[in-house]
Chain length 452, copies 2
Amino acid sequence: MSLITPRTLKGFRDYVPSSMMPRERLIETAKRVYRSYGFSPIDTPALEYLEVLQGKGSDETDRQLYQFVDHGGRAVGLRFDLTVPLARFVAQHASELGMPFKRYHVATVWRGENTQRGRYREFMQCDFDTIGTQSVVADIETALVIHDLMLAIGFDQFTICVNNRLVLNGLLEKLGLAAQATAILRALDKLAKIGAENVLEEMQQQAQATRAQAQQVLQLAALRGTADEVLQQLDTILAGSANGAAGAESLRQVLSGVRAAGVPDTRVKLDLSIARGLDYYTGTIFETYLGPLPTIGSVCSGGRYDNLAGLFTKQHLPGIGASLGLDRLLAAMEELGMVEKVATPASVLLTYFAPDHLPAYLQLAAQLRAAGLRVELYPEAKRLGQQLKYADQRGFRVALVAGDDEWARRTCQVKDLRTGESQEVNLDPDAEPVAQAIHAILSSDLPAPEEH
Amino acid sequence: MSLITPRTLKGFRDYVPSSMMPRERLIETAKRVYRSYGFSPIDTPALEYLEVLQGKGSDETDRQLYQFVDHGGRAVGLRFDLTVPLARFVAQHASELGMPFKRYHVATVWRGENTQRGRYREFMQCDFDTIGTQSVVADIETALVIHDLMLAIGFDQFTICVNNRLVLNGLLEKLGLAAQATAILRALDKLAKIGAENVLEEMQQQAQATRAQAQQVLQLAALRGTADEVLQQLDTILAGSANGAAGAESLRQVLSGVRAAGVPDTRVKLDLSIARGLDYYTGTIFETYLGPLPTIGSVCSGGRYDNLAGLFTKQHLPGIGASLGLDRLLAAMEELGMVEKVATPASVLLTYFAPDHLPAYLQLAAQLRAAGLRVELYPEAKRLGQQLKYADQRGFRVALVAGDDEWARRTCQVKDLRTGESQEVNLDPDAEPVAQAIHAILSSDLPAPEEH
């Protein structure tokens, strides 16, 4: 029989332990922070009726949709994001869920992307949303969640940029450009990428703005100074526009709210230049940039939308949420040396080379696990050098060595694999001295390694 | 525009918070235990080349496969288990991974099952395996992982039944039935379901055994007594069969190994009647039954196989592993009242009804989160009764109430939502007295609720 070539589809990838562990840790950190604000987990099927998914994103997401006919002759598709399933979910279960409804959803989505742009066809999204309230408290908490999340992941230099769609809408109303808002937004969204001159050109060509009008839009985006100064200037620029005034007032409340929660001004900033290309945002919008790596783009973005589930229900459901850019964030952490290169979740390898003492090895491993340590017992009585090489390749922190002599003396060698130093430690009572010696080595590392 | 009916596909389901939270907790518990033994996480794509999946399970899994042609004209399918992807993964990355390789994989799989049997078409598997070693240490640790897992989930009455395929094979060799082993196994596997008489019938009809031969197989399965007694009887029954003797010796080592690790004999039992229908097991096999609910079937099963990835590589990769039956376990936990009916991960609802004091509410919530509590701030200044009803419906444990009077006095009301009792507690310094009052309420519950 000929062998089948083991391979993954183009645009899909395997995660080996050294790449899966930081992913898993990041996802768990995100969940922990979401939960600390009362967001609840939900899950929805990967497959949905095609009519639920189709025509809900853009022409591009329609083209990229993985779709087929199932065993029962139903037209089905794989979800391309978590927002459309959320809309369907909330419409379907609204009475059971009650409002406000705060949910997080960490799950895989699929898009038949062009892989030449370095995109993957399967990736994970990590969203949180507050549905069913227009209160600015939800806007403030969205910023706070992003803030706590970035800190919990291990960043201390980052900026959460806040803007409000109503501010720009207010200006466009005053300029008589309200009908072209979408085209203006699309152009403005490219500011960082293509520069002011090209944005001016695009606004004139795509949005039929005059050069003077386009310049006023860019001037608004370029307003600088403290938040208070900028907001004061806004009052003048937007005078007479109810929408503009509402947007400015909301921004004022968001900024003072996060300050009240103890967040330094350096971390949450008013930035009138962020636009978020997506049509459906209607109020506050967020983007998050890493201080040491701003060019990687926003790692957590989102905003307020007016009506989540209008295609599925007559119930009006406003909301606000954001999405953590898992892949981008992991790439940044790797680039910044924040990801330890290990291929095992255990810190201790108990080497094994005196099979007559197997019960003693098993007992020691059990005692150390009971003391909260993660311990792998090497399964074969190979040469010690080979086992230590294995320990080194996987990234264990500590190796334990016990042969006939040590078992006779009721001791074991505790080897610090970073320094190479060994110490002989008593096993009794209950392997406690060994556990203490290991804990001492682990706690000498900063930050302290996570144990179960 | 007419609305789209919000609905899920037949055989698929949504998880609302009250059903998703216990699932998420169970999965996290499993991961924690797997990690404590040095199992590493991996992930593989949901979609694979069809040739990777097809013909790898049974005719039934082939029929149930979700398959289609993708944008690039490739025949693809959704994975129907995690074992076939593991085989492909290990063959593809063997040199990078090194052996032994211990992995866990928690992921969704899809099968176009007949839903009339109460089966779902999308479900989650939760597997762990040790690849690349034939050492009995891996067999022992597989039993220990199952044991620690059941304890960590909250069960103390359960039985891990252990058998070894070689024992039965040894007997079949002696009876001259080795060639019909598969048909004998299939019949034996139904013993609990259809009873001895029907199994005898099936062995005669499907495996061409004589009634006397079939009776000898059933006598082996029926051996009772302490493990030592049964193993002693086995030595006589299997005398002369090398396979049989190897199976009995392995069982002896597994049983004494788990005992050495401190597991009581009542929890790991030799049971010569378990057979596990799957052809590919070749050595130790496991099934796990809940003491209070044995009829629900095995909640964690697995065993040793000879060659994982023979279809993908010439490298010989023996292994052993098991799979946690997530849905079955959750159903059991629900039936046994082990699942608290809550719809929020937060224990504290901070009610909100004096908008002028929004900064104070935000500060209090931030301080309590910093003290390790999960706190939801209600986003709208609705009537207190309405907010307390919300707290009750979601299952919050504590509500905090602060209006103009309390803020003026720098206090807040801490309300135990189970007893209905309230106490007025000082906010200063840093909301510490409030955090202490909440912790006191939470720690009065048994078991202690998990906080971040």
